[in-house]
Structure formats: structure tokens, C-alpha cells
């Protein structure tokens, strides 16, 4: 960063305090966001490296590249890292940390020290995860199903459990911090229904983080204890119930998928509104639907257990509730579309990412609906159909939105513009690479190719090769932004305070913002006030 800082406004949060030490003890939410950004990028590429191994191995039906045990460790590590060390913290801790106080007109989050502590916990958890990898890896799948994880696996389950446990506290503290910040630190005049949808998304996601993560932490602690002691409550030999583990795990992990998608929804709302130059259609419904997702999302976890031996009554209820939770998502998709109507739409790169998000999230969500029907889940469960479903929502949805947000707020973060045509190219390449990678997996799933297989029947090869080919395109499209964003730090032209003519409070301060965020109190107005000229 240091090269960029010379050109940056004096008094910006990037200026002053250049030493490593000053960064590592900072309490400025903006600097903490940057620290998180570094960690998250690292883990994304680590998880991506594991994905590379997976896709390379699956080019041939025999799985020639990796041995079975190694393959199992590869996808486990891929899942663990991507979920807990990349996607769950991604948007909240980077964009959220940076923007939340700015958007509500505050000087910082409510508990800056806690914020820094969260980062250290995240890194501490990450150290354990990497340690587990170096020690030889773990082979339970990211779901840690008992009794395999407790009594049978002889890999480093313990280290990974600690990794996730520790990073769980980071998530909890971040959520707690955001909830209190939004409740207590809004600028005068910033009423609830003037909050940008991104802030609402942060609020909803924080609720989920705070109420779901403790359950995961404790459940994994039980797994660790059971492993250590050789007995425990999931142990079928004692009459314990392995399905109890699945209940507890999915009580967290289904809401966790909404931890991954809600922030993405918030980002998309900001971008679409800005580039359509129009108030988000159905603003209130957008807020209610996010809260509905956050709450109802807690009541659907059993749809991961339709064929696990769950009772029929439970299946019935969970299936119905899974359909119900799709309704608020439908509202959102339709409202984004309607926001385009009568807009003045331009297609800068953030908008391309946002529209890509809407389309791919929709496709992933719709296949989620199919899985929510037990009659279809019976053949499709634990096949590549499920893999395709969740990569559509998580990679096509959340990662797209995350990158869109990075591009949209890049000028605010750094004061620089990136090369726009490269950015558009990367976005479009990503869209194609993504579909090529994951669409064939729907077909594989329908055809009956199970997941977590390091070798497969020969008739699946064509589709698998297509998928691997797509993954290499995808890899390029992820490396591109790294390259041109880093380039822009040094050579990008100055962005000005509000390059997109956007309306949020964060655009009323300088780019990059000063340490205290606002030099003079921002003017709070109706949200997305594109009918009026920019202040």
C-alpha cells in the first residue's frame, strides 16, 4: 500500500502510522477491514488451490492425480477454508467493517478494540487451519459427521475443530459489534428506514451470526471431546444418536448459508440502485425480506437430513418451511429486476457483477427449491446436483457480489480507479467460466454421480472435463482482478470523492476517508435519493 499513500490525501486513514506495528494495533475500522481483506484473499486462494487439485483429479474417471485419501483431504480443506475462512467473513468483515460506520454516519464501530480482537481470532483460527493442513490434513468433509469424525477418522480433526471454534468467536464478536453499532451509533436523522439496504443486510446477518455460531462452536467442542475421551453423546455404541450431531450442525449451517448470502444481497442492492439511478424498488419489502430470511432460515435445517433417517413428520415440516423461506428470496429477485425499470442504467463493472449475481443466485436458489422437495432430494441428495446448487449460490451469488462490492467501493477504499475495461472483461469471463464449471454438474447430479468421489464411472467423463475446463477459465478470471487492482494502487488515476455519483453517506466524505470518517457532519437524507441531484 505504501506507494499509493504518497498520493493520498493527508489525514486519510491510509496516511500516517505506516509501520507494521501501527497497523497491527490499529483500532480504526477501516484499517481493520483492510487487514481482514488480506487474510480473506489469502484463504480464498488457498481454498482455490484445493479446488484446483479437485478439478485436476476429476479430469480422468480413475482420479489419476490424487490418492483417495489425499482427495478426501483436498475437498475437506477446500470446504472448511472456503466456508469459514473465506466466504462467511468475506463481505461483513471487509466491506461491512469499512462501510458500516460510514454509511450510518458514525466515527467507528461501537467496540473498536473488540473489532481488532475479532481479527486476531480470525487469524488465530486460520493458523490452526493451516497447521492442520501442514500436519497432514483432515478427511471428514466440512460437515464432520459423527461417528466418522469422532471414532473413525485418523486425521487431524482436532486441529480443524479448534480452528473453526476459534474463528467462530471472531464471527460472534463481529456480529455483536455490528448489532450494537447499528442500534446505538446512527447519526441524528438516520432513522431505521433511511438505512441503506447494505446496513440492513449487515444487521440481519449479524443476528444470524450471533444466534447460530455458538451452536456450531459448542457442537464442534463436543466432537473434539468425544474424540479425546472415546465416548460421548453421539456415540451409537452408547445408544447416543449420530443424527443429533446432524441436527446441531445444520441448526448452525443452514443459517450459515444465509450468513453467506445476506451480505451479498445487500451489496447487490447498493450497486443496482446506483447504476440504475433509482431508488430500490420496494425498499421496505427488501428490509422485511432480509429479516424474514434471517429468522425463518433457522427453521429449515432438516432439509439436509431428508434421507438421513429423520422422521417423516420432521421431513414434512422442514420441507414446507424450506419452501416458505424461499419466498423472501423471490421478493428480492423480483425487486432487483423491477429496480431496473425506468432507470438510467449504465453497465460499469460493478453493475455487471451485480447482474451476474442476480442471475446466478436465482438459478442456484431455484435448484435449492428442487432439493427442498423430498421426492427430488431422495435421488439428488449428496450428488453433484447439490454441489452445483451451492456453488451457484455461493460462488455465482456471494463471490460475484463480493467482487462487485470490491469494485464498487474500490475508489472509496483507495482513492484510485482501476482500469474499467479490464474489469468488465474479468466480470464477463467469470460469468462464462462459472457456468461452464458448474452447469455440467447439475447434469452429473441428475445422472447420479455422487459427491466426494475421487473416481467415477467412465460415462461421466465428458461433463467432468467440461467442468474442469471451466474451472481453469474461472481461475484466470479470479487472478485478473488481483492483478489490475494491485496495479491501480500505484498507477490508477485519482478517483475523486464520488466517482459513481452515488447517494450513500459514505460518498459524502473524501476518498479515502479520513481517520475520523467525516470532516464535517454528513447530511442525512432519504436513502437512494436519486431524484435529487447529488449533494
Amino acid at each position: 500500500m505504501s506507494a499509493a499513500e504518497a498520493a493520498v490525501l493527508p489525514g486519510s486513514f491510509l496516511a500516517g502510522g505506516h509501520t507494521l506495528r501501527e497497523w497491527l494495533i490499529t483500532r480504526d475500522h477501516k484499517r481493520i477491514a483492510i487487514l481482514y481483506g488480506l487474510g480473506i484473499t489469502f484463504f480464498f486462494f488457498l481454498g482455490g488451490a484445493a479446488a484446483t487439485l479437485i478439478r485436476l483429479n476429476l479430469i480422468t474417471p480413475e482420479g489419476a492425480l490424487l490418492q483417495a485419501a489425499t482427495y478426501n483431504k483436498a475437498f475437506t480443506f477446500h470446504g472448511v477454508v472456503m466456508v469459514w475462512f473465506f466466504l462467511i467473513p468475506s463481505i461483513p468483515t471487509t466491506l461491512g467493517n469499512f462501510l458500516l460506520p460510514l454509511m450510518i454516519g458514525a466515527r467507528d464501530v461501537a467496540f473498536p478494540r473488540l473489532n481488532l480482537l475479532s481479527w486476531y481470532l480470525y487469524i488465530g483460527g486460520g493458523v490452526f487451519a493451516v497447521a492442520a493442513l501442514l500436519a497432514g490434513g483432515v478427511d471428514t468433509g466440512w460437515t464432520f459427521y459423527a461417528p466418522f469424525s469422532t471414532m473413525f477418522s485418523n486425521s487431524h480433526v482436532f486441529l480443524v475443530v479448534i480452528a473453526v471454534f476459534v474463528s467462530g468467536f471472531s464471527t460472534i464478536l463481529t456480529g455483536l459489534n455490528f448489532i450494537v453499532t447499528i442500534h446505538c451509533l446512527r447519526a441524528p436523522g438516520m432513522s431505521w428506514f433511511r438505512l441503506p439496504l447494505f446496513v440492513w443486510a449487515m444487521y440481519a446477518v449479524s443476528l444470524v451470526m450471533v444466534l447460530a455460531t455458538p451452536v456450531l462452536a459448542m457442537t464442534l467442542a463436543l466432537i473434539g471431546l468425544e474424540r479425546g475421551l472415546g465416548v460421548g453423546i453421539f456415540d451409537p455404541a452408547l445408544g447416543g444418536d449420530p443424527l443429533l450431531f446432524q441436527h446441531l450442525f445444520w441448526f448452525y449451517s443452514h443459517p450459515a448459508v444465509y450468513i453467506m448470502i445476506l451480505p451479498a444481497m445487500g451489496v447487490a442492492s447498493e450497486i443496482i440502485s446506483c447504476f440504475a439511478r433509482r431508488r430500490v424498488f420496494g425498499y421496505r419489502f427488501m428490509t422485511y425480506s432480509m429479516l424474514a430470511i434471517a429468522v425463518i432460515g433457522f427453521l429449515v435445517w432438516g432439509h439436509h437430513m431428508f434421507v438421513a433417517g429423520q422422521s417423516m413428520y420432521a421431513t414434512l415440516v422442514f420441507s414446507l418451511l424450506s419452501f416458505v423461506v424461499a419466498v423472501p428470496s423471490a421478493i428480492k429477485v423480483f425487486n432487483w429486476t423491477a429496480t431496473l425499470r425506468k432507470g438510467e442504467i449504465s453497465f460499469e463493472s460493478p453493475m455487471l457483477y451485480a447482474l451476474g449475481f442476480v442471475g446466478l443466485f436465482m438459478l442456484g436458489g431455484l435448484t435449492g427449491l428442487m432439493l427442498a422437495a423430498p421426492a427430488l432430494d431422495m435421488p439428488l441428495h449428496d450428488t453433484y446436483f447439490v454441489i452445483a446448487h451451492f456453488h451457484y449460490v455461493m460462488v455465482g451469488g456471494s463471490v460475484m457480489a463480493y467482487l462487485g462490492g470490491i469494485h464498487y467501493w474500490w475508489p472509496k477504499l483507495t482513492g484510485r480507479r482501476y482500469p474499467e475495461s479490464w474489469a468488465r472483461f474479468a466480470a464477463i469471463l467469470m460469468f462464462f467460466g462459472f457456468n461452464l464449471t458448474f452447469f455440467p454438474q447439475y447434469l452429473l447430479g441428475y445422472e447420479g454421480m455422487p459427491r466426494r468421489y475421487h473416481a467415477y464411472a467412465p460415462q461421466f467423463q465428458v461433463l467432468n472435463v467440461l467442468s474442469s475446463g471451466g474451472a481453469s477459465i474461472l481461475a484466470v478470471s479470479y487472478l485478473l482482478p488481483i492483478a489490475y487492482l494491485l496495479w491501480s494502487l500505484r498507477y490508477g488515476r485519482a478517483a475523486g470523492d464520488n466517482p459513481w455519483q452515488a447517494r450513500g453517506l459514505e460518498w459524502q466524505t473524501t476518498s479515502p476517508p479520513p481517520t475520523e470518517n467525516f470532516r464535517r457532519p454528513p447530511r442525512v437524507r432519504e436513502v437512494y435519493d436519486y431524484a435529487e441531484p447529488a449533494p
Binding site: P147, G282, L340, A373
Partner: protein, 319 residues
């Protein structure tokens, strides 16, 4: 299934129904998705920045529209839910006349036992056009029994019985897969299901021999483990008659009534204290740890084998 082909065969009675539902859902989703994408493209072009399209009244919300697109999807979801459930209910309700076959999973193989005592590993022979009910358990971790051509799948758990049924409709050979991650060789834990015409199947069964029927093996165990010492008709201990027990409702000491199914019999043997039968002394010991999963299945097959089976053996007890 040696030749690669695109569409999976529909080789069970339920497969067709599931496929119809699958493609209907796919069509519905595709329609909705196409609608949204067309709308995005249309708006994107018509309202691109600088286009002359009229934009009066643009910042308005519309309550009616919102309500519509809440209620219409919800309605469709309810329809899908009911349709799905009607199929799933069928898929989870084995017909009473189903042929029983027992499955024991372990890392990384499928062990199959037929009521006639025939055993096989990683292959399952079934007759065509006859409902088959699998009673499954695992010796170690969770596995999942999946036959793509039949569109059926059920996890197989340690310490518990789960059930799966199907009626195969086409003779042939179909892959059998494990779909619950179970350790290193999860991907190799496969096998085949061989569907045979009935006559051929009968011949196959007969040719397998086996160490006596499963029930007969069970009868042996019943004596070897001392069950007959209490449950035999001449035993001194006051213990319930097991004749015709299977399928009846049993009244328990704690006031509950439960159906005497496979699971119940298993629990009675392993954890008798958890369900004491009303009116008997609580003296039956637990046999957990003494019997393997296969032996348990044999005992249960024996107790299920009807009044004749059990009565004969108690007659045996007269020595």
C-alpha cells in the same frame, strides 16, 4: 449400464413419477428464470443511460405488485410441496407383501443377506416386478444406499435400522453406490443390483444354498445364546411368548404402546431396559456387545418367521 447413455434408465416403479416431477419442477424453474432474465435484458436495453424511453413517475413503489409476487410463488410452492410429498410418502411406505432383504454396511462394502440364508457382497439380486424391502444397518459409520436407476436413497446408520423399498421394473444390472461420505474408499464402496425375471430369480436363490435360512440360523442363535431358556414354552422364567409377536402392538410397563417392528425387536435385545413389557419381571439382560449385526438380523428374521417358526423351536425345547 455398460454403454454410456445420457438419460438414466427408469428402472423402478417410482422412477417415472419422480422424473415427471423433476422435469416439471425444472420446467417451472426454467420458466421463472427465463422470465426474470428476459426482463433484466429488456430493461437493460430499453432504459440504458441516455435512451429516450419515458421515465415518468419512476421512484414509486407498488404495494399490489409486491403482494402479487409474494402470493403467486407461495401458491406454486404449496403445489410443489404437496406433489413432492405425495411421491415421497409412497417412496417411504413399503407395501405389506414386500420381500425382506437385509443389508449390513461397513467400511467399505455392502453385505447382503436374504431370508433364505443366501449371502452376497456388493451385489444384490432382486426379482423384477416385486416389491423389495431392505432393512439396513451399519457396523461402523454412516453410509448411504443409493441406486440411481431406481431414484432411491437412504442413509444407513450404526446402531439403528433404516428401511428402503422399491419395485424394480426392468431386468438388468444397475450400479449401487454409497453416497454418504464414509472414509478413504467411499468412492469405491459400490456394487451392482441385478434385477432378474422371477423364475430365474427363484433358480438363483435355490442355487445359492447358504447355511440354512436366515431364520434357521436365528433359531440356532436363539438356543446358543440362551434366549430359549426364558422364552421357550417350558421355561421357568416368566417371559413373553415371542410367537406372532412381530407386527403386533406391545404394551410397555411405562404405559406406552409400541409396534413390534424390526427396530423394536433390536432394541429389546440390545437395550431391554428401555422398553420393559408390561406384566413381566425386568430380568432380561442386555445382549449388546455379544451379538454381531448379522446375528441380530438372523435372530430378528427368526422371530419374524411367524408362529410356525417360533412354535417349532419351542417344541424343540422339550428335549
Amino acid at each position: 449400464m455398460s454403454t454410456p447413455r445420457f438419460l438414466l434408465p427408469q428402472a423402478s416403479s417410482i422412477a417415472f413419477r419422480i422424473d415427471v416431477f423433476f422435469w416439471s419442477m425444472t420446467a417451472l424453474c426454467a420458466l421463472v428464470a427465463a422470465g426474470v432474465i428476459v426482463a433484466i435484458v429488456f430493461f437493460g436495453v430499453r432504459y440504458r443511460r441516455g435512451s429516450p424511453a419515458p421515465r415518468t413517475d419512476r421512484h414509486r413503489d407498488a404495494l399490489g405488485v409486491e403482494i402479487t409476487w409474494i402470493l403467486v410463488p407461495f401458491g406454486l410452492f404449496v403445489v410443489a410441496f404437496i406433489w413432492s410429498l405425495s411421491i415421497f410418502a409412497l417412496a417411504r411406505t413399503p407395501p405389506a407383501n414386500a420381500r425382506d432383504i437385509y443389508v449390513v454396511a461397513k467400511q467399505w462394502m455392502w453385505k447382503i443377506e436374504h431370508p433364505g440364508g443366501q449371502r452376497e457382497i456388493n451385489t444384490l439380486h432382486v426379482p423384477v416386478d416385486e416389491p423389495v424391502r431392505l432393512t439396513m444397518t451399519s457396523q461402523d459409520v454412516i453410509h448411504s444406499f443409493y441406486v440411481p436407476a431406481f431414484r432411491v436413497k437412504q442413509d444407513v446408520l450404526p446402531g439403528r435400522y433404516t428401511q428402503l423399498w422399491f419395485t424394480a421394473t426392468q431386468p438388468g444390472t444397475f450400479p449401487l453406490l454409497c453416497t454418504q461420505y464414509c472414509g478413504t474408499d467411499h468412492a469405491r464402496m459400490g456394487g451392482t443390483v441385478i434385477v432378474m425375471p422371477r423364475a430365474e430369480y427363484a433358480r438363483w436363490l435355490a442355487g445359492q444354498g447358504g447355511a440354512g435360512t436366515l431364520a434357521a440360523q436365528g433359531a440356532q442363535l436363539f438356543r446358543a445364546h440362551g434366549c430359549s431358556g426364558c422364552h421357550g414354552s417350558h421355561a421357568v422364567v416368566h417371559a413373553p411368548e415371542l410367537t406372532g409377536l412381530y407386527g403386533r402392538m406391545v404394551h410397555l410397563a411405562d404405559g406406552r404402546s409400541v409396534l413390534a417392528d424390526d427396530r423394536y425387536l433390536r432394541d429389546c435385545i440390545l437395550e431391554p431396559s428401555a422398553q420393559r413389557v408390561a406384566g413381566y419381571p425386568p430380568v432380561m439382560p442386555s445382549f449388546s456387545g455379544e451379538l454381531s449385526e448379522e446375528e441380530l438380523l438372523a435372530l430378528i428374521a427368526y422371530m419374524k418367521s411367524g408362529p410356525a417358526g417360533v412354535a417349532d423351536e419351542s417344541a424343540d425345547e422339550r428335549r
